[in-house]
Point group: C2
Chain length 306, copies 2
């Protein structure tokens, strides 16, 4: 069975300062051809080109917090969208102060964009619905970092029930009733017979979900927001020997990220936001896997099917 | 004879929107181990790493104007300098409004840099001395663009006269008098004999110079500022068939840039700031060379010894 797309592209896997191998934070999430950009570190527009993503398809941008490695690519991306002829609106979900930065940049560069930006400001009070359409919903939730910061939770809407077409013909159900069946209701056929929903339909696949947690100190209360997600991205800026530094700078170690994944009983853990001090990254898996085995390292260009 | 270094590294050769091959404007100029960064488009810090330039050696940054492709890399570069432990001061020469953008970004990200930025604001009134030490001087001069914009002129100071060491010994000149000779003065030796400067010294090489002109409409009055420079970088956003568009957007064609180089009798012309619409760039040389033959195309990573 072909399910709708739910695919993540890692555009940047570095913490604060980029390296020759790793760009700062940015991810492109495609759910049923809705393209969500999550954070937008410097050179995100260059990464989008490099990995052949169509950046004019992005209609929703989510910014977790206002450290530069999570938003310094936004002015350039919005500017290139404008220069390359964008007309359709875009929505930016972000901390409120970001708008003033973009407004000032447009003022000093005497730029008026050819399209409209809708600004939706995140809040710091639990799970907050930011976006919803017939297929997807997106929430923010609070993270604990040095400055105001939120994570994001992306969920498919429950899918309609799958109909057994062979049985449908046999039971002489009208086309009009198919919608009711998909919603899970029983129907009466053309011969006045009551047909139980369970006779004609089977369970659809469970809705999938993805949670993004960057940047944050090790913080078990977030498990409430990310529990049972299919894929969890959790920052792991440091290895265990720098746990004290992680705590001081409100970041997480790989092992701590694995503990969150385990507590949340998630399907898979993606580690990212690696400090520039690390060249190779095997040690992150060595420390995380004993705690939570279904764990992978992010690298720029990595694709994850959810 | 080993002359002091005077070398340019092209970090970005694209106009407004980067391409997969070309980054936005930025150049690193090394004169006698003073490192001058000229413009700082998005991802300049990544280009510096890619081309193995030591970015903590940069003590002076020159920003021509406030279109994003000339400064969107500055917040990230200044932030990485901070994160990687910079302590020494830096000076940014730029339009005045840039300071307010950086101040706001530092405010919203709750960042206090570990080093001091000295801001020196450019002016729009002729040749203006921005920086000077014993070896180098740097000037700004006005360009004509859609918004306030300046070019930059980098000049070696006149070098001391070269002393013929063999003759020096023969004439018994004291060590103390060597400085006078280097300055071009005559001296009296230990035997009371007057020694003409011309007997002991030869002319030093002529001071070299580099001029940076981006962005600007075709504007012959700038020849006054760039005449006789060894190397001229002049923007050439478009080819001749888009001359009307060049005029309308206050840019220059390759042929027009060659006309400026010819009028200025410069040593060499570097073309850059190419519109993203062009893939290959041979046509820029085809149009410029018939007017001014000593002409080269910039590409990211190109080094030019001056």
């Amino acid at each position: 069975m072909n399910r709708q797309t739910f695919e993540l592209l890692i555009l940047g896997s570095s913490a604060a300062s980029p390296t020759s191998e790793r760009n700062p934070s940015a991810q492109l999430l495609n759910i049923a051809e809705r393209f969500f950009l999550i954070d937008c570190g410097e050179a995100t527009q260059i990464q989008l080109r490099k990995f052949k993503a169509k950046f004019q398809s992005i209609d929703h941008i989510f910014i977790s917090h206002l450290h530069g490695d999570h938003f310094f690519g936004l002015p350039g991306l919005l500017s290139s969208m404008h220069l390359l002829g964008r007309k359709q609106d875009i929505t930016v979900y972000c901390p409120e102060e970001l708008k003033s930065v973009l407004d000032l940049i447009n003022k000093v560069s005497e730029t008026t964009l050819n399209y409209t930006i809708h600004w939706k400001f995140t809040k710091n009070d639990g799970l907050n619905l930011l976006f919803e359409d017939e297929k997807v919903e997106v929430y923010s939730f609070p993270l604990r970092h040095r400055i105001y910061c939120t994570g994001f939770l992306f969920k498919e809407k429950p899918l309609p029930r799958n109909i057994d077409k062979f049985k449908l013909d046999k039971h002489k159900v009208s086309t009009a009733d198919i919608l009711l069946l998909k919603k899970g209701e029983d129907v009466t056929n053309s011969e006045g017979e009551l047909i139980k929903n369970s006779e004609l339909t089977i369970d659809p696949p469970a809705p999938r979900s993805y949670a993004y947690c960057s940047d944050t100190i090790f913080n078990p209360p977030i498990v409430e927001y990310i529990k049972e997600v299919d894929v969890l991205y959790h920052e792991s800026t440091f290895l265990e020997d720098l746990q004290a530094r992680a705590k001081k700078t409100f970041h997480t170690t790989a092992k701590q990220a694995a503990e969150i994944a385990k507590m949340g009983n998630v399907g898979k853990l993606l580690l990212g936001h690696f400090s520039a001090r690390y060249g190779t990254l095997e040690a992150f898996l060595d420390e995380a896997k004993p705690v939570f085995d279904k764990c992978e390292i992010c690298f720029d260009g990595k694709k994850v099917k959810i």
